[in-house]
């Protein structure tokens, strides 16, 4: 029996979810470490100050409390995000800040230099670990969607469609078809074999346009595309068509990444107003499937009008 990951291509485009890499496990450990340190800073700032050799009065306890809040926030973030690379990088920045704070504490009269140096050495060690983890996580993130670009949002979904992959590939390869099942897209115009111009509705009805190019194209197997540099919306996507076992049609795996205008913040805002990108891609694929299998996407009065009865 083949196991997941023996097909190098499959690994490149679709890392299997749920199987944590070393870096992901390390990030989890760092998340818990953050929370522990944060709780200590918040609950017992004076004790912590004495421990690291800093003065236990004056501004120090307040600073340690603030550091505690930062650590807890970063720990929770790392543990809750599926792709915490950015947050681990933020930890590196925090570590550098801590080193600066420790250095400035050396100047205080009440400081105990021996302990401060020991604390700084510990922080330096953690910094190195954070940086290493962050670098590995970024690399893994970058590998999932065409080359090395950090995106605010990355989503993956897979669906089985009872149709030959030649047909599915052909339909998808003509990007002008995509708005027929991708609800955000208003139109896609093609400009030659590899270039296309996309027009989509963002949160709140805002219209975004960008140009994209095909970066990889293996007939009947996969299509990868990416927005051109300088686009307002930075976007990359790949669709892969794999025969399902024994006449079950084709497994269509789609991975998309994008950074909306406004970057990560924009993506967060979009999520807040109820635009869940995972769900959107799932629903789009659920529309692609009937279009290919049944020639149409069935609608219901309940969906159209909110109640299961015809409307005028």
């Amino acid at each position: 029996m083949a196991t997941h990951g023996t097909d190098p291509d499959r690994d490149r485009w679709l890392p299997v979810r749920g199987r944590a890499t070393d870096a992901q496990r390390l990030a989890g450990g760092l998340g818990w470490f953050s929370i522990g340190l944060g709780v200590a800073g918040l609950a017992a700032p004076r004790l912590l100050a004495r421990l690291i050799g800093a003065p236990d009065r004056g501004k120090t306890p307040a600073v340690l409390r603030a550091v505690g809040v930062r650590e807890i926030a970063s720990g929770l973030g790392i543990l809750s995000q599926p792709r915490p690379a950015g947050l681990v990088w933020a930890r590196v920045a925090g570590d550098v800040m801590d080193l600066a704070l420790l250095t400035s504490a050396l100047g205080s009269r009440r400081a105990r230099p021996g302990r401060i140096v020991a604390a700084a050495a510990a922080v330096a060690g953690v910094t190195a670990l954070d940086a290493l983890t962050a670098r590995q996580l970024s690399r893994q993130d970058g590998a999932t969607v065409a080359p090395s670009r950090e995106h605010a949002v990355t989503v993956r979904k897979v669906i089985t469609i009872n149709a030959p992959r030649e047909q599915l590939y052909r339909f998808w390869r003509d990007f002008t078809n995509l708005p027929r099942f991708m609800r955000r897209l208003e139109s896609v115009e093609t400009m030659g074999e590899r270039r296309s111009r996309w027009r989509a509705r963002g949160p709140g009805g805002m219209v975004v346009e960008w140009e994209a190019e095909v970066v990889d194209d293996k007939p009947n197997e996969l299509i990868a595309w990416r927005s051109l540099p300088g686009s307002r919306l930075s976007h990359a996507g790949v669709v892969r068509f794999t025969p399902a076992p024994r006449g079950r049609g084709t497994e269509v795996a789609v991975e998309m990444a994008y950074t909306p205008p406004g970057g990560t913040l924009g993506a967060r805002m979009a999520k807040l107003v109820g635009q869940a990108p995972e769900q959107e891609l799932q629903e789009d694929l659920r529309r692609f499937k009937p279009l290919m299998e049944a020639g149409d996407i069935v609608v219901s009065e309940g969906v159209l009008y909110g109640v299961a009865r015809p409307a005028r």
């Binding site: 009872n162 499937k289 009937p290 020639g295 219901s300 309940g302 969906v303 299961a308 015809p310």
Partner: protein, 389 residues
């Protein structure tokens, strides 16, 4: 047009609503000539199925005359007389091609809702909540029928509505309940529930070669119908212990297969019945599964438990140890009606069965609220209500 709308728990009303339009190219609009209230509509009526909204049109058993077809429907034309199966199915997806029509992968536009509750979504169903599609039902004057080139079955002019209306649901449902029992010569089948589906399960078990069928209910008039019209031996569970009675009636073996035609609103005497009612009323379990528990315990070693009564969510005190240790097989599902309609129409045409025997009440559509009420409360010996728009 007039349509039966869900208003609130135990309230339906016949209201004026706009007529349906073609929305998809494979749609047809059907003018309804006969429709019926299903036992499973009572679960909606009692407010036990989530995602039903005020104003939703109910009804999934209907037939009528094709008025209009979309551009993608080539096998039907205006004027054709059709029975419409209750599950909506595209005919092209992987599961439709395996004849598992009630699991069509393309007919529930609200599949995401069902996935939250059940893991994956089944097919859309007419008039049966938003999580099953949000499609208006057929207890009305007209209905839009999606995938009309796959579902509706044409009916010859000489067969009256009442003989074929139940091909839309309860006859195939009862038949599938028996079909899932894999009946062998000599088999004794027990059927819980002598409502319309139970009656058809009994009849179907005989059609499929059962030696004997034993039916279980508590209403004497329903047991009488099961005995006199469907040919079953009967047990009134309020009078005797079902488990012991079945054991005795089967030489101590237990029935070879047990069919649950009751579903999520089972009644039970005594403590376990009170337990289920309290837990269901307080939302701690969604389904009262007394009949299913009893069917499992009663089934012979290595036998089959076939479930066609509707369950919505979660049940407590499920005797899975009995299932596992005694090698029982559980088979279930919403009926794959499209699979059974044609062969069952042939049986009707050959005179092997006249499905109209379950009808006890014929009402005009406007009296749908009264129909729901009398069906729920088993007034006037009600078994099946047919409505005429």
């Amino acid at each position: 047009m007039r349509a039966t709308c869900w208003i609130d728990k135990r309230t339906v009303r016949v209201e004026q609503v706009p007529e349906p339009k073609i929305l998809n190219q494979r749609d047809a609009i059907v003018r309804i000539t006969s429709t019926a209230i299903c036992g499973s509509d009572l679960h909606l009526y009692n407010g036990l199925v989530p995602t039903v909204k005020r104003g939703d049109i109910l009804g999934h058993e209907f037939m009528g005359e094709v008025m209009e077809v979309g551009s993608g429907v080539k096998n039907l034309k205006a004027g054709d007389r059709v029975v419409v199966p209750f599950p909506i199915a595209c005919g092209a997806c992987g599961l439709c091609q395996k004849a598992l029509f009630s699991l069509c992968e393309n007919s529930n536009p609200n599949a995401w809702m069902a996935e939250k509750v059940w893991g994956y979504s089944p097919a859309g169903i007419f008039g049966y909540s938003h999580m099953l599609g949000g499609f208006p039902g057929g207890q009305s004057e007209y209905a839009r029928v999606p995938f009309a080139d796959v579902g509706p079955l044409k009916i010859p002019a000489h067969i009256p509505d009442e003989k074929v209306l139940f091909l839309s649901d309860i006859f195939p449902t009862g038949y599938m309940g028996a079909d899932n029992c894999n009946i062998q010569p000599g088999d004794v089948i027990a059927v819980w529930g002598c409502g319309p589906v139970g009656q058809f399960a009994i009849k179907s078990a005989f059609l499929l070669g059962a030696e004997r069928v034993i039916a279980i209910d508590r209403f004497p008039y329903r047991l009488r119908m099961a005995r006199e019209r469907a040919g079953a031996e009967v047990i009134n569970y309020e009078e005797v212990d079902v488990h012991d009675a079945l054991k005795e009636l089967t030489g101590g073996r237990g029935p070879d297969a047990c069919i649950d035609a009751v579903g999520m609103e089972g009644h039970a005497p005594g403590l376990i019945g009170a337990y289920d009612r309290v837990k269901q009323a307080t939302g701690l379990e969604t389904d009262r599964a007394h009949a299913l528990r009893q069917a499992i315990m009663a089934c012979r070693n290595g036998g089959t438990v076939s479930v066609i009564g509707v369950y919505a969510g979660f049940i407590d005190k499920f005797p899975f140890g009995s299932v596992m240790n005694r090698s029982l097989t559980i088979k279930t599902g919403q009926a794959h009606v499209q699979r059974y309609m044609k062969p069952l129409l042939e049986r009707v045409e050959k005179g092997e069965i006249d499905p109209s025997f379950v009808i006890t009440h014929r009402l005009p559509l406007d009296q749908a609220p009264r129909g729901y009420d009398m069906f729920l409360n088993k007034e006037d010996d009600c078994v099946k209500v047919v409505l005429t728009p």
